[in-house]
Each structure stands twice: as C-alpha cells, then as structure tokens.
C-alpha cells in the first residue's frame, strides 16, 4: 500500500513538472471580482476622467503591469491610476521587481506584461515587440518640446516618458553655507572658487562616493555629463550620443580631468579616490547633512532629496537641505522612466490616452511622483522641492538624456568601467579608448 502511494506520488511529481514547464503562457484566470474591491477606495483630489477615455474597455478587463517601484512609489502610481480603475473598471495586475532579467525572460518567452514601466534602453531592445504609441491613441502634443524625442526609435514612437527627474543639480545645506559664510554660486567659475575656498578653510567640498554594486560608476557618469554640459554644452553631449563625437574626444578628456582633480583628492572629496570608489552612493548623499557635516555638497539627481528626508526626518527642505542647478550648465541632464506597451488591447489604449492627457499629467503632478513631462502637470505640483525642480525643468534650453543609458550595446557599463578605472589610477587615454571602441561598435 505504502509502495503504491510512493509510485503515484512520483508519477504526479513528474507530471506536475511538465505542467509547470509548459504552463508558462497560461493567463491568470482568477476571477477579477474577487480582487477588485480592495483598490476601489477613491481619492479625492484628482481631475475627473471622462467615460470616452475608456476606449471601449469592458469592466473587469485586466491590465498587467511590470515596474520597478515599490512602497510609497507604488502607492503614488496607484493613486494616479485610480481614476482609470474607477471609471473604466479596469483590473490592474501589477508586479513590482527590480530584476530586469525577469522582464527579459518574459519578453523572450513571448509572455510580456501588457505594460512595462522601464528604462529608455528597453525601447530599443524591444522595438520589435512594442506597439507604437500613436497607434494606441497617445497625444504627442501633450508633452513639452523634445520630451518624447528619445522615445522615437527608427521612426516609431514607442514609449511615453512618465516620470522624469533632473540630474544637473547640487544638494547642500543652507544652514552650513550660512554658518561658514558661503553663498550659492551662479557661474562655474564661482563654483570653482567656492570649492577652493572650502579647501582653504579645511572643509571638504564634495561627497562623491559612487559604490553601487555592479552599477558602480553611474554617479560619476552623471557628474561628468554635467561638467560637459558646462564646458561644451548640450549639442556636444547629443553628439556623443549619436556617435558623431567619439568618447575619447578632447572635450571628454577635459571633463574627466576636471572631475578627476576633485574625485581623487582627499582634500576635495571625502576619502579621496578610495572614498569615491568604496563609499555607497546613498551614504554619499547623507554626508553633507550629517552632524558634523563630512562634506559641503553632493552632486546627485533629484531623488537625493527624498533620501535625505528618509535618513534625517527632522530636516526641512529649503532651510536644512536644498539644491541649486549646476552653475553654468548650458542645459539639463535628466532621465525618465518610460511606459511601453506590448499589447494593443482596449485597456492598454485607455491607459495610454489617460496618461498622455492633460488630466493624466495633472494627476501625476498632484500625486507628487517626481516630475511629469506632460504639460498638464505644470502648476499642479504641491511639494516645495518638486515645484523648484519643475521650474528648472520647464525652463531648460537643452534637455539631454543620460549618455550611458541612451547608447545601447553595453556602452553604459563600459563608461562606468572607464570612470572606475580612471579614479582608481589607470591611464585616462586607454580607459577612454576602450569606452570609445564600445561606443563606435554600438552606434555603427
């Protein structure tokens, strides 16, 4: 009897293995009614969504989403999407992961999510599988000029820029600046003089730590691109992105030398070269705001404000921590998370037309989920730091995407390697030559 049991058990195990192996493409069959009510609690402040935006969606239609946000960020996204859920009865099937391998595997297996919120490079990577935005009813006029350009791949508009952040800013403590008699610089020369003044006073000007696991170096690449925006301007940066300027050009070398002077010297940055390489980028954000302050300034994207707030809940934006745009920068560097669609079903069309509508932009701003390049967002921000970021964002002359994120084919990690090796004492010319070779190959 017992033997019989084990035989059946073994058979079932083998059978189930096959079921699991072959069952990957089966859609979720759970009845929507069982899960929908949990999320229907309506939020008050949103602009209303009209019924015709539903694009013929039937109540109960499912929409699978894949994104990297979790916690508070996920709540904000839910808040933004709530009107769509309420009006059209769409049932969201969200999944949150930071693991890009998951998205890759799904796409390759032919079972992608309906919608993915991911990075700009995925638009190129998945261009064969993605549905063009204009076919889905997206409204290009809703966006500030140039915002959707990076999303046009080989003539097809493949993604909506949803959540943008500006990188060309420097965070500092107004309190410390006041106490030490420093003022916010308005030109690059003033910044340079301020840095020298701080060194002369025995204060460490920069916190440049950039350790980030297998992505170590990205903080440095942001800094370098900002220096290029100051020294050369946005057209130069776009030239690197389209390959007309090789990555070992004299202008790039000049930017690296400016950066290296600060990043490798313990007088200019916390811990010198080894501090830059081995301090985690999050710790580096905290250093100007710790007591006593370990550094005076940290150049980091807009998200740094939220990290400071999390680490030091008592600090207040505007008095204890604040930012200024990198002085002298002839343009801004920024990045967006992009929404891409792998399906053209009505629920996807409804989402696309909602997010590219003025209401969608307004709701995005009201939720305080970073900046939205949707014109409808302007004037609807409530958070003081977002209002200040939005000012710089809408006023900029040249918005440049991150060089490393935009060039496909492994240039991003080649760029990081060049930066890490350079800070670690390698020869600059050969470090840049290797990155330039990858750039040339990627853009040929």
């Amino acid at each position: 009897m017992k033997k019989m049991f084990w035989q059946i058990f073994a058979l079932l195990t083998i059978a189930s293995l096959f079921l699991v192996a072959c069952g990957g493409s089966t859609p979720a069959t759970q009845s929507p009614a069982t899960e929908a009510p949990a999320e229907t609690e309506s939020q008050t402040e949103e602009a209303p969504v009209s019924d015709d935006m539903c694009m013929g969606t039937q109540p109960g239609d499912e929409l699978s989403l894949l994104y990297q946000w979790s916690g508070q960020e996920e709540e904000r996204l839910n808040q933004i999407l709530q009107p769509l859920v309420d009006t059209c009865g769409i049932v969201l099937r969200p999944e949150s992961t930071r693991d890009q391998a998951l998205l890759d595997t799904r796409v390759q297996a032919g079972t992608p999510p309906d919608i993915a919120f991911w990075n700009i490079t995925q638009l190129t990577q998945y261009q064969e599988q993605l549905v063009a935005m204009d076919e889905l009813g997206a409204n290009a006029d809703a966006y500030i000029p140039g915002a959707i350009d990076p999303g046009v791949i080989n003539g097809r508009w493949l993604g909506l820029p949803v959540k943008s952040d500006i990188k060309t800013i420097i965070w500092y403590s107004p309190l410390n600046f006041e106490a030490l008699g420093y003022s916010v610089p308005t030109t690059w020369d003033e910044l340079d003089a301020l840095v020298e003044q701080m060194v002369a006073d025995g204060n460490v000007p920069w916190s440049m730590g950039m350790e980030s696991g297998d992505a170590t170096g990205w903080t440095g690449s942001d800094f370098l691109q900002d220096i290029m925006l100051v020294q050369q301007g946005p057209e130069y940066v776009m030239g690197i992105i389209d390959g007309s300027i090789p990555y070992d050009d004299a202008g790039v070398v000049q930017a690296y030398e400016t950066y290296g002077k600060w990043a490798t010297d313990p007088l200019y940055t916390v811990g010198g070269a080894q501090g830059t390489l081995s301090t985690p980028f999050l710790d580096a954000i905290y250093k100007p705001f710790s007591d006593p302050a370990e550094a005076m300034m940290v150049k980091q994207s807009g998200f740094a404000g939220g990290e400071v707030q999390k680490q030091f809940p008592d600090l207040v934006f505007g008095t204890d921590y604040d930012f200024f745009v990198v002085p002298g920068a002839q343009g801004l560097q920024g990045g967006s998370d992009w929404m891409m669609a792998f399906s053209d079903k009505p629920a996807v069309q409804a989402l696309v037309s909602y997010l590219s509508s003025p209401e969608g932009g307004a709701n995005w701003a009201a939720a305080g989920f970073d900046l939205s390049p949707n014109k409808g967002a302007a004037g609807n921000y409530t958070d003081p730091s977002l209002i200040k970021k939005a000012e710089a964002f809408y006023a900029t002359q040249g918005f440049t995407p991150d060089i490393g994120d935009t060039i496909p084919g492994g240039f991003g990690s080649a760029e990081w390697t060049a930066i890490v090796d350079f800070v670690n004492g390698s020869d600059l010319a050969s470090a840049l030559a290797q990155a330039a070779a990858v750039q040339a190959e990627a853009l040929k």
């Binding site: 501090g275 492994g410 990081w416 040929k444």
Partner: protein, 320 residues
C-alpha cells in the same frame, strides 16, 4: 550469470529499462540537453539572436566569422600591443582572475581543510571544533558576501565600522580599501571563498582520515616514525584518492564562482571572473551572443575536470 538462472520475475525485456529511465531522460533532455544546444546555437548569433554572429564584425578589425563572439570572449580583454601589456592585462582579466581564484582558493580550502581535519582528530572537542568550521557552509553565498563586505568596509569617517579597518586604525594604522585596491581585492574575495568552503573540504577529508587503518599508523610509530613523517608518508598517500576528488570538485566550484564577486565588487576594480563576465554580457549589456559564448567557454573549461572526477569516482566504486 547466465540468463537461464535468473528467476522470471527479475527478467527484463529490451523495453523495461528504458521505461524506468524515461522520466529522467525526459527531464534531462528538457532541462539540460535542450538549453545546452540552444546556448551553443545562440553563441553563434548576434546580440539578440536574430542573425549570424558574422554580421557583427567590424570592418578593419579581426574577425572570426561565425565564431566572432568567441573571438570577443577569448581576446577582448587582452591588450596585445606587446608582451608586457598582454601580461598585465591578462592578470586583470576575468581569465587571469579565475586562474588566481583556482590556485589560491583550491590550495587554501584543501590545505586548511586537511590541517583542520588532522588537528581536530586529536582533540576531545572534535565535534564542536568541526561544527564551527563547517558553519559558514550554512550561510548563503550572497549572505556571506554581504557579511564580509561589512568586515572589509572602508569608512571615510574617523570611526571605521568595518571590523578589519577598525582593528587596523585602533593599532594606529591607515585604513585600507580592501575591495577597490587592485591585487588586494581579489585576495580579499578569495578569503571569503575559503571561509565558506573550508568546512566542506574538512568534513570529507576527515572522514577519509578516519578510514586510515590504525594498524598501519601504529606500525609506523612503533618503527620510530615522527608524526610529520606519518602524516606525509602514510596518511596523505592513503587518502590521496579523496584529496584528488576534493580538489577537482573545488576547481569546478571555483570555475563557476559568481555570487561572491557579484555581491562584493560587481566585477569592478579588476576583480572580474568568467562567470560574472557571462552575467554582465547577458544581463547588463544584453548581448545574448557574447554572453552565451562566454558560457560555452566556461563549460569547455569545466568539462575536463568533470570527466576526471567521474573517472576517479568510477575507479573508486570498482575498488569497493
């Protein structure tokens, strides 16, 4: 034994054995053979598997045609302008580092494991001592990597939160950035590997040592052999088959090593190893062709050791 003498119930036709094997064969085909063939075929194609790898050749550069990804996997890390640049770049490449790992980690784990096995054999608290040495095996590699990342932490403040640097500074020394200074960092990572795997080697070698017949050891001692001689001339030769199996197993482990490097340095600062490079090409650069080519190179490097290990294992089975 002729088939006539076998009772009928034990007789098997030509089909029965295959039926027994069928589930295993199906699973193996599906999960091992098919992925393997697919990997090889992808390694001959371009970055997303849509065309032959030959199309990725750059004019004016060396090209291996359909084996272009293998040219990249085998030569891209080396600077071949002169022998000395090749030599330097080799020792910073994933191949050079993997070689360092093999030499240092295999000798470290087997040497220490053997030492602990011999020493623990002679004390009353043997079980406790062995349990402590074995314990790191219970920690996941990722967990161990994070633990040791803290041990090696290089702080920029006066207070060092890293154990090692706090010891160094309290003795008046300068803190060392263990994970980012080239040469030191690979060594620092190998220490973590040794910390994890020594217990495994010790356990197996200790079991082998227990099987050394007491009479032989006593006879040697009666004849006036020193403990040193007993160890080198009696124990080591007797347990040699086990040592070889442990060594080959460890070499295979080290060749596959990925977690420690990925967690602690991400392959930066000249610490890359072959398995991490495969991951980088595959999931950071999204170059499926190159990623799978590195994978195939890795498999080819491992096969001789697996073959050797199986041969050894079969020989031992026959002796029993």
């Amino acid at each position: 034994m002729s088939s006539q003498s076998v009772p009928k119930i034990m007789k098997q036709g030509g089909l029965a054995p295959w039926l027994y094997l069928l589930p295993a064969l199906l699973i193996m085909t599906f999960f091992i053979v098919y992925p393997m063939i697919n990997t090889i075929s992808l390694s001959l194609k371009n970055r997303d598997g849509s065309a032959s790898a030959a199309t990725t050749c750059v004019e004016g550069n060396p090209c291996w045609g359909v084996f272009e990804n293998y040219r990249y996997a085998l030569t891209a890390e080396f600077d071949t302008t002169s022998f000395s640049t090749f030599w330097t770049s080799f020792w910073q490449s994933s191949y050079g580092n993997t070689l360092k790992w093999i030499v240092l980690m295999v000798s470290g784990t087997v040497g220490l494991g053997l030492a602990f096995a011999v020493l623990a054999d002679r004390v009353r608290y043997e079980a406790l001592a062995k349990a402590i040495i074995f314990m790191p095996m219970a920690v996941s590699f990722v967990g161990a990597g994070i633990i040791w990342k803290f041990v090696y932490d290089y702080g920029t403040q006066q207070v060092q939160i890293g154990l090692l640097n706090s010891i160094i500074t309290s003795l008046g020394g300068q803190p060392i950035a263990f994970l980012s200074v080239p040469q030191i960092n690979t060594l620092a990572l190998v220490v973590v590997g040794v910390w994890i795997w020594t217990g495994f080697c010790m356990t197996i070698l200790s079991a082998a040592l227990k099987a050394v017949p007491d009479e032989v050891l006593e006879a040697a001692r009666v004849d006036g052999a020193t403990e040193w001689t007993v160890f080198w001339r009696i124990m080591v030769p007797i347990i040699m088959p086990t040592i070889t199996v442990v060594v080959t197993t460890m070499v295979i482990n080290v060749l596959k090593l990925f977690d420690i490097v990925y967690v602690m340095t991400g392959g930066n600062f000249g610490t890359d190893v072959i398995a991490n490079r495969m991951y980088t090409e595959m999931y950071i650069n999204f170059n499926v062709g190159r990623g799978t080519a590195v994978a195939v190179v890795l498999v080819l490097a491992i096969i001789p050791f697996i073959y050797f290990n199986i041969k050894r294992f079969l020989a031992q089975e026959e002796m029993r």
